[in-house]
């Protein structure tokens, strides 16, 4: 069954700003670019759109060496050459050596699929430019077999970026854009709820207070994100840590329990210890 609109799922909390942007992309079949701090659910979004709307999902995880062409198809010339040396029959049909990429796969789907292009900013600066035409027309030409591949349905293309590189204007003009703001406490409580339904209220509220206070510490190298919060909660639950330990009094006296899940950087731990030390001195 496939749905026409996206409105979040039982596993994913989507705020109204996000769903509005996604539905715009769904309606016009144009890509949507998602940015946001690490761990704000950029990658998971595509999976949830697919799940929530009952669509197939294709994924393309971009690395620094990824080329735009690889999303369309690759011609495995080396394999063919080898086969020719070995006298393999397959060698006569070049189509045997055309390897379809995720974009091609997406174009072939019988219903409008979701295509995730994850971390586009990892690739070369030219990468987005090389995809302009394909994203516009949703078609491309295969030189080796002289065929034009046209999308049966314009896929819902979700592109994520961690802002390592700026993306070209021509590319941006073709996309919708949404920046996932770091969730406020209310939204975060909802997110926690989909991961750990039925968590004790006191524990949740103390944990969230501690978490947001920690994020506010100036000078942290890496602020803990949603995924760190979720990991931390898992540990707290496993150890059955009582909510009182997290209360604000204790927070000023010592690092929160299992802080390793929140502060992954030694310098940040030191910084925090220093702050606690100063707090205690001032308190005296």
């Amino acid at each position: 069954m496939s749905d026409q609109r996206f409105s979040g799922t039982d596993r994913y909390v989507a705020t109204e700003d996000l769903t509005t942007a996604v539905n715009a992309a769904v309606t016009l079949g144009r890509p949507i670019l998602i940015k946001g701090e690490p761990g704000t659910g950029k990658t998971q979004l595509a999976e949830e759109i697919a799940r929530g709307m009952g669509r197939p999902l294709l994924q393309w995880h971009v690395k620094s060496t990824t080329k735009a062409q690889q999303g369309l198809y690759e011609y495995d010339a080396v394999a063919r050459l080898r086969d020719s040396q070995l006298g393999d029959e397959r060698v006569h049909d070049i189509a045997n050596y055309i390897v379809k990429g995720p974009m091609w796969e997406a174009f072939e789907q019988g219903i409008q699929p979701v295509l995730l292009i994850d971390e586009i900013d990892k690739a070369d600066i030219e990468f987005p430019n090389d995809l302009l035409r394909e994203l516009d027309r949703m078609e491309f030409y295969v030189y080796e077999t002289h065929q034009t591949v046209v999308a049966k349905h314009r896929p819902i293309i979700v592109i994520t970026s961690n802002n390592e590189k700026e993306l070209p204007d021509a590319f941006l003009r073709r996309c919708f854009f949404h920046y996932i703001r770091f969730p406020d406490k209310e939204t975060m409580a909802e997110i926690v709820d989909v991961h750990y339904p039925g968590l004790k209220r006191e524990l949740l509220s103390e944990a969230l207070n501690a978490f947001y206070e920690l994020r506010d510490v100036p000078g942290l190298k890496k602020k803990p994100s949603t995924s760190e919060l979720l990991d931390w909660l898992k540990l707290l639950l496993a150890e059955d840590v009582p909510a009182e330990i997290l209360s604000s009094d204790d927070r000023r006296k010592s690092l929160p329990p299992m802080h390793g899940a929140l502060l992954k950087n030694e310098q940040d731990v030191h910084l925090f210890e220093r702050l606690i030390f100063l707090n205690q001195r001032n308190a005296r």
């Binding site: 109204e16 600066i125 003009r173 919708f176 854009f177």
Partner: protein
């Protein structure tokens, strides 16, 4: 009203293109959103703003433009004349956008489409759409082009909320154009990354292929070398202590942000001028010291040397043995500088001091001369020039 909004955005420094604007109109026609102004805010933002650093600017324009929006929707507001609209739009168009309109069949075609959509919209209006107001005899009214054309959120519930989303200014701290330098940083980083990637190659290893094929009794055996993206190796020497600390921090951040792009990036610290020893850790400056000579042996000549410092010191610190303010140096700073530059032909000095002041500071003059004038200001353009020199 929407056209005005479009121009207000452009005046506000948001480079909204007509393509993006038309996309927004198309979505409204397809009724992606219902009748709430908040949804319209989200939708227009997703269509028109492509950088979170500009969200705040968008919020301000949105707020100013739609303030007391209900009052504007009187039953008989003036329509916008077509000629005026055409002129306004043409003024704001880039060549690319003009070409696009030509490709769509030119202005008349565009206007015709708009008219057509008007009719569709009006039919819907009869069906009860709150988006379309009353005064819709002009083509633009229907398409949301004039203030009377749309009632934004008049009957929605959310606009009665105490604070509107756009008035919360939640993205203010993302607008880093206000802080000097932070915005430039991004551009600088981009330039640095491009520099780091030089030497990238996707290649067939011909010698190895020939050799292997020969060994293979003439059976072709293709050898490829993996694409090397990060070919650039850099030694970064940073002046620490005193007035330089802030600049060093900026520099460290800049380079570490790009560090994954370099094949190798090594940091060392010095004070004022380079002598026989350097520090690996700028905090423990007095404990662990690395002989400069060892370093020159360890890192080959294909490393590029980037020194960052204000080069402001007493000339003694450069010219004479024992001139250093911190320790007894057997050989002069100039001697060490020459040695370094002989080892690393590709070298530059980045100086945070404003360039106008360079000529008044003798030590800057001296170091710049030692560097054969390869001293550049620590600005984006200075960095660009420097990188060009290095590549």
């Amino acid at each position: 009203m929407l056209v005005d909004f479009f121009y207000r955005l452009r005046e506000g420094g948001l480079k909204v293109s007509i393509t993006e604007f038309l996309t927004l109109l198309e979505l409204m026609k397809k009724r992606v959103i219902q009748y709430e102004v908040e949804e319209f805010y989200y939708l227009s933002r997703a269509c028109l703003v492509k950088d979170e650093a500009l969200y705040d600017r968008f919020d301000r324009v949105f707020s100013a433009h739609f303030k007391g929006v209900e009052d504007l929707f009187g039953p008989d507001g003036a329509d916008i004349p077509e000629e005026w609209l055409r002129k306004q739009i043409e003024l704001g168009l880039s060549d690319e956008e003009k070409a696009r309109i030509e490709a769509m069949g030119g202005w008349d075609k565009l206007m015709e489409t708009l008219k057509q959509r008007l009719e569709e919209q009006q039919e819907r209006h009869q069906g009860g759409s709150k988006w379309i107001g009353t005064g819709g005899t002009s083509p633009f009214g229907a398409y949301g082009y004039n203030p009377e054309g749309i009632r934004i959120g008049q009957d929605g519930s959310r606009h009665r909320r105490a604070v509107k989303v756009w008035d919360k200014r939640e993205f203010r701290n993302l607008d880093n154009s206000l802080e000097l330098g932070t915005r430039n940083m991004k551009v600088a980083l981009r330039r640095l990354r491009r520099f780091a990637r030089q030497g990238a190659a996707d290649e067939l290893d011909l010698p190895d292929t020939i050799e292997s094929t020969a060994k293979n009794a003439g059976m072709l055996d293709i050898k490829m070398v993996p694409e090397r993206h990060n070919a650039t190796k850099v030694l970064l020497f940073l002046d620490v202590g005193g007035s330089m600390d802030d600049h060093v921090k900026v520099c460290e951040e800049l380079f570490s942000a790009a560090s994954s792009e370099f094949k190798h990036l090594e940091y060392f610290y010095f004070h004022n001028c380079v002598y026989e020893g350097l520090w690996k850790d700028n905090l423990r400056r007095n404990s662990v010291r690395l002989p400069t000579l060892d370093l020159m042996h360890k890192y080959p000549a294909d490393y590029k040397l980037i020194l960052v410092g204000d080069a402001a010191m007493s000339p003694y610190e450069i010219q004479y043995p024992g001139g250093s303010v911190e320790h007894w140096n057997e050989e002069s700073g100039a001697t060490w500088m020459k040695r370094l530059l002989d080892t690393y032909p590709k070298a530059i000095w980045l100086n945070p001091e404003p360039q106008e002041r360079w000529s008044q500071t003798p030590s800057i003059q001296m170091l710049s001369e030692l560097m054969s004038q390869r001293m550049y200001p620590l600005t984006v353009s200075g960095l660009e020039q420097g990188m060009r020199e290095l590549s």
